[in-house]
Structure formats: C-alpha cells, structure tokens
C-alpha cells in the first residue's frame, strides 16, 4: 500500500530524513516513533505529497504521491496543528471537504456529531486547541479516506476523547481496511493501536518491527537453580539483557517461546517464571542491543 524507497530530504544545511525505506500493508496501522526533531513530520509530509523528496521514491498503491490528484483524493493528512480556513465554521469546512473529496460521507458526518457534540455553526478558530483537534478528526472521519496520515494526533485530547478517537480509527481500519500512518513521540500512546512500529532517530530509521512478532519473540524470564547457575546455561540462549538478583537470574531472551521453555526445563530450575513485558521494555532492550539508549531516542 505505502512504499518508501531510500528517501532523502534536506532543508538547507540540515538533512532531516536520511535514506528511509519502509513498507506498510493495506489495512494496517503503522506507528512512527521518534523524539522531537527526528524527522517524523518531514517524512509524513512527504507521504502526504506536500514535500517532494530530494531523492528516493514514495509510492502509494504503486503510484508516486507527489502532485497526484487521484491518490490525494483518497488520502488525508492531519497535521499536529490542524489548519482551517480563516473564520470558517465546521459547516463551511464540511462543505469544502464535501466538494473536494469524493469519499465524503454526509450521513457519517451527522452521525459523528453525537460523538463530538460541537455546534456546526461555530467558528473553528474560536475553539480551544482540543476542540479544534476534535473538529479536525470529525472532518477526517467524514471524508472516509483510504489512507490516513496523522501527526501526533492525540496531543491536546483528554483521555476520554483519546479513547474515542482510537476506537473510531480501529473501527475504520477493521471495517474499511483503511491504512493508517501515525507519528508519535510517545510509545505508550500508540502501542495498543499499531501493528507495526518504526523508530526514526536523527532522520534515520533505526528499527522497524511488527509488534506481534516482537512480543512473541522476546521474553523476560527469571530463573534460579539449586546449585547456582550452570556454566553452560546462558550459552544456549540469545540473551539481550541479564541481571543477577541474589540467586535469581533475570534476563531477557529472544527466541521461540516453546524452544526457550524446553531449553530451560532441561536445567531443572527451582524457579522459572516468564514475566509480562511491556512494549516499552522491549524497545529499551532491543535498542540497547543495536547501540542506542532509549532516552536519546524518545522523550
């Protein structure tokens, strides 16, 4: 659905995005993570056909997106600071979207009014930041795009609204096979939403994983043995991280769950627990492995 091949983009002396390649399948939700200034917004704007890459290609449904009217009619970009025409009301903006986007769904627009409970006659620029973002979401969901690109979408929304928006997103992805590309500087915010995650750091894609694979492949275990840790124990495991707590060995290992289980059972541990691992922890360890400290990558 979305294919990015070796894309570069620089502004004057700064290279904001360096040789980024990625692939997003139709109907999936891709989370782009990174700290401020990592190049997320630049990448998103190239994806939305606003910026033209200096080098490399971006294809959506196999066609380049830049200046592609046909594709842009099915693609919507919601920036971190939504824009509305000066003094426009929601009704006027809705009229505009109705004319511009063929996918506009009038019925849905009025349905969603119950979700948002904002007066359509109100001038958007007089609303609070959170309300403006809601208005933006309202319009976006009424357009029913095939591809939705969201830049830090949940900033400024309260917890209830955040949940509602996520539900709407997931619902659209499930029902219409919409493809979503979300950027965030906060992993916790998107971990329950995305099925793929990429981490951008200083313009470079340093890691890309499928979340289910990640969770399936990484395990946090604690083991203890009657006579101390057998010397050959660790050699048979792919240890990402280890820590000795008294007699208990805490480590994070990679590998197939059953194989790891079977391997450890052979050493007859007195304690053997597999602990839940948050996505954040996985990233901390994974990134440590490839040489990044998570603090330098995400706030």
């Amino acid at each position: 659905m979305i294919e990015i091949h070796h894309v570069h983009k620089g502004f004057e002396q700064v290279e904001a995005v360096k040789d980024v390649s990625l692939h997003v399948q139709k109907g999936s939700i891709y989370g782009l993570l990174g700290s401020n200034g990592a190049g997320k917004t630049t990448l998103l704007k190239m994806l939305a056909g606003i910026y033209k890459p200096d080098d490399g290609d971006i294809f959506i449904e196999g066609e380049p997106i830049f200046e592609n009217v046909k594709l842009k009619k099915k693609l919507l970009f919601l920036p971190d600071n939504p824009y509305f025409f000066p003094h426009a009301t929601i009704q006027q903006m809705a009229q505009f979207y109705r004319d511009v986007y063929p996918g506009w769904n009038e019925e849905r627009f009025w349905q969603l009014q119950e979700w948002f409970s904002i007066d359509v006659q109100q001038k958007i620029q007089r609303m609070s930041k959170g309300m403006q973002r809601q208005a933006a979401f309202w319009l976006v969901f009424s357009v029913m795009p095939d591809v939705l690109i969201l830049d830090e979408p949940f900033d400024g929304l309260d917890a209830v609204m955040r949940k509602k928006m996520k539900n709407l997103l997931v619902q659209d992805v499930a029902e219409r096979n919409m493809t979503v590309f979300i950027s965030s500087h906060n992993l916790r915010e998107v971990e329950d939403l995305c099925d793929h995650v990429g981490i951008l750091h200083n313009g470079e894609m340093i890691m890309e994983r499928e979340i289910d694979d990640l969770k399936a492949d990484v395990h946090k275990i604690q083991v203890a043995f009657r006579d101390g840790i057998p010397s050959s124990f660790l050699t048979g495991l792919q240890v990402v991280y280890q820590e000795q707590r008294g007699r208990v060995l805490l480590c994070i290992v990679r590998g197939n769950r059953e194989e790891v289980d079977a391997y450890i059972q052979r050493f007859a541990p007195v304690i053997f627990d597999v602990l839940p691992l948050t996505l954040e922890e996985i990233f901390v360890y994974e990134m440590g492995r490839i040489g990044y400290a998570i603090e330098s990558v995400m706030v």
Partner: protein, 570 residues
C-alpha cells in the same frame, strides 16, 4: 470538461473569495471615489465648474495621479493576499495536501485575481458612461471609456503579475510587497546607478549621453500617469502585455518548482541566496558611490570609502533578511565572495585594461567632430534643421580639417592627462568631444577640466571662423533677416537707452558688432566678462535677438563714440 476542472473548483473560489473578497470591494469603492465622484461633485458645484467638465479629454484626465496610486497598490495587495496561503507554513502545507495540482491552484487564484481587478473596473466604467450621457462631458467618448478600461486593466494585470512573480521568489509577504516595488524601479534604477558610477571610475565616460534617453519612460508608474496625455503606443501595449504574460508564465513555472517548505523563508529557492547576497551589496555600493560624490561632494578616495562602507552595509542587510535576525556579524566571510570580483572589476576599470579611456578613432576616419559643453546635440543630425537656433551655440559639429585636428589634439592631451574627478568647488568646465566617423560609427567622451590650463587648446578651436559662425547666430549670414532696429540698453539705469533705426546707422553698427564677435577671444567667450549692457536687435520677421555688450567689444565702442552716442561719464 478537463480544462474546466483545471481552473474552476467551486469551493476553492468560494473559500478564497471569503478571504479576499474585501479587496474587490475596496477596489470598487476607491475607483468610484476617484473617477465618477469628482465629476458629480464638480457638477453639483454649479455653473463655473462646467468648463472643467467640458475640458476633460479622457477618463485619465479626471484624476490620473490617484488612479496611478490605486493601480500600483491594489494589485500588489491582491497578489500578496491571494498567495498568502503559500507564505504561511500551516496553510501552505494544507493547500498542498489537497487533491489539486499546483497548476490548478495557480490558475484558479489567477482567474480569481483577474476577476477582482476587472469586475470593479467595468462597473466603474458603466457609471462613468451613464454620467457621460447625462452630464456635459463633451470630450469623453465611449471609445475613451473602453480604452480606459483596457489600459487600466492592462496596467493592473501587469502590477498584479509582478506581485505574484516576486511572491514566488520569497516566502514572506512583507518582502513580497517590498520586492514588487523594487522591481518596478529596478530597470531604471540600476541603469542610472551603473552609468553614474561608471563616470567616477572611467575618465571620459559620457554618462549624461546615455542617461539622456528618457529613463522615466521605463518607470511604469510615471508612464501610467502620463496616459492622460499620451495613450500607450502599440509597442508599449504589446510590451506590457508581453511582460505580464512573462511574469505569469515564470510565476507558474516557479510555483511548480517551489517547495512547500519555502513558506516563511526570505528566499524561496536556495539558488537565489548567492544572487541576493551579491546583488544587494552591489546596489548598495553604487548608491554609496553616488551618495559620497553627489551629496557629500567627496573626492575619489571618499567614493571608494562609500563603495566599501555601503557594500558592507548592503551585505549585512542581505544576510539579515535571509537569516531573519540582526545578529549576522559573524557571517562576514561571505562578503569576501562579493569583494573579490569587485576588486577585479575595479582593477580592470581603474587601470583601463579594456583600453576604453585611451580609445580614439584614426584621424583619417573622422568625418566630423562634436565639440561643446553638453552632450545634448550629439544625436542631432546637422542636415536636419532645428526648430529654433540659439543665439549662442556652444555645442556644435565641426568638419573643417583644421578643427577636426584641433579637437583631436585636445582630446589626445585630455587622455594623456587623464583628468580625475574635479573637486566640486573647483572652477571646471565640461568638455564634450564626439566623433562621427566616415563609416557612421560614433564615439563620445566627456571630461570635467579647469579651463585655464587648456586655454591654448580652446583658443585653436573657438577662435576659428567655423566655430564662431556656428556659435553666434548673427554671424550666419544666410539665416539672419534684415535688422530693423537696434536698441542698446545700458546695465545702468541712469543712462537712457540708445535706439538706432536708420538703416545706415544700423548697418554701420552691425558691421562693428560682427567684427567684434569675429575677433572675440576664447577667454572672452568661455569666461563671462564684464558687460556694459544688452543689445537688442529687432529683425524684420519680428523676432528679437539679444546680444551681450561685452566691454571687450572695441569696434562698436569706437563706432558709438564716433557717432557721439556714448554717454560721457560711463
């Protein structure tokens, strides 16, 4: 259908009209206030104003200067506001994320802009037509009104196109406005700046000659105001039409290339940076030279100082605009890229490596020479009779072999001396030497030199018969009709004027006067010597010739005293 889709999208029009519709209204109100309103006011002011109304030749006549101000502000504003969306980051990103190609956005905006200019014009013209029908605006015909719409619309579209064009170059609306006005003045301005400064560094450079060529014609604002007297010629109309089209095509071309992220950048394209960092200090440098010469009356050293200081200021200003901060003083290194080529150009000019200063035609190739203190007549073909001849003509073509040689020798001496810029307080005279060669080529040089050291050269030329004949109108026998009366007026009020009307007396006096003029020395002609008064010669065709009665004129002195006409105690 396809072309319709390209330029018309209802929502875009509606949305933008909501934003900038006010410009159309302001345009209309101002037009009504400037054009029909003064007519109505004049009419209601009563009978004595009717002559004013009858005297109006065309619509421009009503208020050309105000129309000019309108034509040169509204379209600039329109260009700024219409394309404001691309100068603000948020809206630029938004507009470019919409499913429109840039060509389509551009076309829609230009069409809307054209309408905003045209519709109020047509409405105003209708009002004026109605007034013409009812009021005694006898000299304004409907053709005048149609022409008025065409000319105002052409000029407004030109200004609008320039505003849009420069808008593509910059990402800041304020700069868009500033650049637009600079661009209107730029062609004339740079012409004056370069030529004037050339005079400082190139001895003999005839800046005045090139500056003579009606520069104000290429300042669009001045040309517009003159429309009340002179309509556009076909060439001018085509010229403006072409420039308008060129600006629009270039603007579209740049808009397609222009990155969205140019919003809020002083220069939209990185390639403009060096152009700007070179061009601004260059113009400042030229202004600095003129300032230190013409305003501060500085010597060549001070002019160099002006070049240096002003170009540094210009460079810093350019950096400040680009960086959008005043703290750019650490960026001085870029100035070197300006300084080095300038030093090179300066060296080439100063040491005359092109040979300009020493260039002279071969003596044998010269058909005639031009000699005088002004370049004004160099282009006048001597075959063609001038409408009026001066009584004293210091600027003339000389074609006798001796005079060609005399002027040539004078010129050689000037080249050898290479007169530098004179102090403004020095007593100098402008020497203009021009050549017309046998093959038709022309060459002209101008020098400012003190008279005295060059007097021997002057004497050779000025005291020649050919020069005198050209210089004094009354020595040209063929052109002077008989004199009917001579009135000699003393400068001193105590003495009565002497009037000669007897033909015998007149011919005797004239004989003496002509001899005086023929014998007059170069010193007497070049330096204003003391005079007794003025001699008034009434010709048979009614024209009067005035001749200064210089104290050096011995022949008439003798003649008058012989006739006992001179007062005793002068």
């Amino acid at each position: 259908m396809l072309s319709k889709a390209l330029w018309f999208n209802r929502s875009i029009w509606l949305q933008h009209f909501r934003n900038i519709g006010w410009i159309a209204i302001v345009h209309l109100l101002l037009l009504l206030a400037i054009v029909p309103l003064p007519i109505m006011m004049a009419y209601t002011n009563g009978k004595n104003q009717l002559d004013y109304l009858r005297g109006l030749k065309n619509v421009f006549d009503i208020s050309a200067p105000f129309q000019g101000m309108l034509v040169f502000t509204i379209p600039v504003l329109l260009g700024i506001f219409l394309f404001r969306y691309m100068q603000v980051k948020q809206s630029a990103d938004y507009m470019h994320s919409l499913p429109f190609r840039r060509e389509s956005l551009f076309t829609q905006h230009m069409m809307l802009g054209g309408m905003i200019l045209l519709v109020p014009l047509i409405f105003t013209a209708l009002v004026v037509s109605v007034l013409c029908y009812w009021l005694p605006l006898d000299r304004i015909a409907s053709a005048d009104i149609v022409l008025w719409i065409a000319e105002v619309f052409l000029m407004e579209m030109f200004v609008f196109a320039v505003s849009v064009f420069v808008g593509m170059l910059t990402g800041i609306s304020v700069l868009q406005g500033i650049f637009a006005y600079i661009l209107f003045l730029f062609p004339a301005g740079i012409f004056v700046l370069v030529l004037t400064n050339m005079r400082y560094v190139l001895a003999g450079f005839a800046a005045d000659y090139y500056l003579n060529a009606n520069i104000e014609k290429i300042v669009p604002f001045i040309r517009f105001i003159e429309l009340s007297m002179r309509d556009f010629s076909l060439q001018e109309a085509i010229g403006y039409l072409f420039l308008t089209g060129l600006c629009i095509v270039m603007a579209l071309w740049m808009y397609r290339k222009r990155p969205s992220e140019a919003a809020n950048q002083a220069l939209a394209f990185p390639i403009l940076r060096p152009v700007f960092l070179f061009g601004v200090p260059f113009c400042f440098m030229l202004v600095g030279g003129i300032y230190f010469r013409e305003v501060m009356n500085g010597s060549f050293g001070w002019i160099l100082f002006g070049y240096m200081v002003f170009s540094i200021i210009g460079f810093l200003v350019a950096e400040m605009v680009i960086e959008k901060t005043w703290r750019v003083f650490h960026k001085w290194k870029g100035y070197v890229y300006f300084l080095l080529p300038m030093l090179l150009v300066g060296t080439v000019l100063y040491f005359d490596l092109t040979g300009y200063e020493k260039r002279m035609p071969k003596l044998a190739d010269i058909e005639k020479v031009y000699f005088g203190d002004s370049v004004s007549r160099f282009d006048i073909d001597t075959q063609q009779r001038e409408h009026h001849s001066l009584i004293e003509q210091p600027n003339q073509f000389l074609s006798s072999k001796e005079n060609i040689q005399n002027v040539y020798i004078f010129h050689e001496q000037l080249i050898a001396n290479k007169p530098t810029l004179p102090s403004p307080f020095a007593d100098t005279k402008r020497v203009v030497i021009g050549y017309v060669l046998k093959n038709g080529d022309r060459l002209i040089r101008v020098y400012d030199v003190p008279t005295d050291p060059y007097m021997p050269f002057y004497k050779q030329i000025i005291e020649s018969n050919e020069y005198k004949q050209n210089y004094y109108f009354i020595l040209r026998e063929k052109e002077v009709v008989p004199i009917r009366q001579v009135t000699i007026m003393m400068g001193d009020e105590r003495f009565k004027e002497i009037v000669l009307s007897d033909p015998k007396e007149i011919s005797g006096f004239m004989e003496g006067l002509k001899n005086d003029l023929r014998q007059e020395s170069a010193e007497s002609i070049l330096k204003n010597h003391e005079s007794w008064g003025t001699i008034e010669l009434l010709q048979s065709d009614g024209d009067i010739i005035y001749v200064t009665w210089k104290k050096t004129y011995a022949n008439i002195e003798k003649w008058l005293s012989r006739q006992k006409l001179l007062p005793n105690h002068r």
